[in-house]
């Protein structure tokens, strides 16, 4: 995918005056009639518009092939779990869209949220459904210590790496410091025994364990940033449409084109699912029913607090960034009431290949997902951004879709399926999931 590596001008311009002419002009000579503004939006959704993967200043090792190699091994190592049966790849299956097809992840315990795919994650300012992490490396640390995922603890993880990967580790990060006598298990996020053992370590020991732990995450990030989406039928349609090539537009059927038109306009899908990854990278409450209505997931409202308190965030001592490079943290929206019950907009690339949907896999099929937006139910927690009939919701319009239109949008979404690729390496064989 050399095209992914092209530096693309992804510029967006703030216009200071009204341009009503735009909505009436038509590009001549093409098979499907689109307004100039629609063509501009379609062009902005091409995968190539994502441009070069942005560097992460908080990870000085992310572009080292040796780090990516180590990260790939760690990603697949079930030794990094309490029962020696769970690896990152247990839920993020490389042959199945780097996810597991389950409503909620299954590690050493039953998880609370849907497994997210890895592809394109290098472009995301915030990770996890609630954005409680601000880098790929920091994200990778969470599941290892989560009692429902890998169920391990910081000291056990670091000792495993020291025992099995010391040479590879030291080639990247230099000599591993003397960690002193360590208990079998200890960490700040574990059981009472692990917490007590962690408190019993010296400051120097904790700092050194944390440093190795952070470097494990930085290796995972070096691998994961290479996992990317590949070109789809939609991308080829968008390219030919932007170029005004009538014949090339035949790559999509009439129904798929109708679905695209609904996606951009009546269905309001592109309100949040926009840009080259079909996501705005932001957090929204769209009234998706929680799994347990008596204990609804607060989403971003809690995630933003966890991010601020995270010792592995961009401003933390284990980050390689200068403080002024941590702009997302400097201008973090910490008190936005609309983020209660809000979750990160997922990419729609390859979406048809990875049911079920939503942050806890609550919705089984794409048809039902689109029906959810057409029905726009009230939120159980917080307030849905979607307009409901008879309800004032700013200037937002009610989404109204017929059953046939829902099928059209679904047909369009299926054009967004393409290969999963490891940049600089290979294309994964299977794209189903």
């Amino acid at each position: 995918m050399t095209s992914l590596n092209r530096v693309i001008s992804f510029a967006v311009v703030v216009i200071t005056f009204s341009v009503s002419l735009a909505s009436t002009s038509r590009a001549a000579g093409v098979h499907d009639a689109w307004s100039a503004t629609e063509i501009a939006t379609i062009a902005s959704m091409r995968l190539t518009e994502a441009g070069e993967r942005p560097p992460d200043p908080s990870n000085a090792y992310e572009q080292l092939p040796a780090a990516a190699n180590l990260g790939k091994q760690l990603f697949q190592d079930t030794g990094l779990s309490s029962n020696r049966q769970v690896a990152c790849a247990t839920c993020h299956l490389p042959g199945a869209q780097f996810q597991d097809g389950r409503p909620r992840g299954q590690g050493v315990g039953a998880g609370r949220r849907r497994t997210m795919p890895v592809m394109g994650a290098a472009h995301l300012p915030f990770l996890f459904w609630d954005g409680r992490k601000d880098s790929l490396w920091s994200q990778a640390l969470g599941p290892w210590e989560d009692g429902l995922e890998h169920g391990s603890n910081r000291v056990a993880l670091v000792k495993w790496v020291r025992a099995h990967y010391l040479s590879a580790y030291e080639q990247i990060f230099g000599l591993m410091p003397d960690l002193g006598p360590l208990p079998e298990s200890a960490g700040p996020n574990g059981t009472q025994v692990e917490l007590a053992n962690w408190a019993g370590l010296t400051d120097t020991q904790r700092e050194r364990v944390n440093r190795v732990f952070a470097n494990m995450g930085k290796s995972i990030a070096a691998y994961e940033r290479n996992i990317s989406y590949g070109e789809t039928r939609f991308d080829r349609y968008a390219e030919t449409t932007a170029a005004g090539n009538r014949d090339g537009q035949q790559i999509l059927t009439a129904q798929e084109v109708r679905g695209l038109r609904l996606f951009l306009n009546q269905g309001q899908c592109s309100t949040c699912h926009n840009g080259p990854l079909l996501t705005d990278y932001a957090f929204h409450n769209t009234g998706v029913p929680p799994v347990d209505a008596t204990a609804p997931d607060a989403g971003r409202a809690v995630g933003v607090r966890k991010l601020q308190q995270d010792e592995f965030n961009c401003l933390g001592r284990y980050s390689d960034a200068r403080p002024e490079q941590c702009t997302e943290l400097h201008y973090l929206a910490t008190d936005d009431p609309t983020k209660l019950g809000a979750f990160r907009t997922p990419s729609l690339r390859n979406v048809a290949a990875r049911a079920p949907y939503m942050h806890a896999g609550q919705i089984s099929t794409l048809d039902q997902v689109i029906e959810h937006y057409a029905q726009s139910p009230a939120a159980i927690i917080g307030h849905s951004e979607l307009a409901r009939p008879g309800e004032s919701q700013g200037e937002r319009q009610v989404i109204r879709l017929t059953p046939a239109q829902i099928q059209d949008i679904k047909a369009f979404l299926e054009t967004l399926t393409g290969p999963v690729v490891e940049l600089g390496s290979k294309q994964f064989e299977a794209i189903g999931g």
Binding site: V12, I39, L264, D280, E395
Partner: protein, 146 residues
């Protein structure tokens, strides 16, 4: 500064066609970036960045504050609010206005637009002429060639 404004205006004029497709904005939307505050206590001008930011790129604007007679206002404090009226969400970041750079000019940092379309930027002003607010509309668009 005037050079920067000319550059910016030229860029906007060249890219006027690149608007989002999804929602129709009110026909009479006031897109002026220089206007009086709500009670007329201040004149406020917003100056976009000279280098056009990408979607989701954090960037800065400039605020110019004057009194009703057009004289620069010094030492004002601001808070920033905003969002997308048609989409029911606020700004993705929490922008801040810095201390005065001089001559009634202030820097608005931490701006980010997560998508194309109609955005509102609201400034709450606390200055020598009292408290007031001003609300601007702006349209963020993709400049792709057609």
């Amino acid at each position: 500064m005037s050079h920067q404004i000319r550059l910016t205006s030229a860029l906007f004029a060249l890219t006027a066609l690149g608007l989002t497709a999804c929602a129709t904005r009110p026909a009479n939307l006031d897109l002026s970036l220089a206007k009086a505050s709500a009670t007329g206590a201040y004149g406020v001008a917003l100056v976009p960045p000279a280098t056009v930011p990408a979607i989701n790129q954090i960037h800065s604007w400039t605020v110019k504050l004057s009194d009703s007679a057009g004289a620069p206002v010094h030492g004002a404090l601001f808070t920033v609010d905003g969002g997308m009226p048609q989409h029911g969400h606020g700004l993705p970041t929490k922008p801040r206005v810095s201390n005065e750079l001089g001559n009634g000019t202030y820097r608005l940092d931490g701006m980010k637009f997560s998508m194309t379309g109609w955005w509102v930027i609201k400034l709450n002003i606390q200055g020598p002429q009292g408290a007031d607010t001003v609300t601007f509309n702006t349209v963020v668009a993709s400049p792709h060639k057609i």
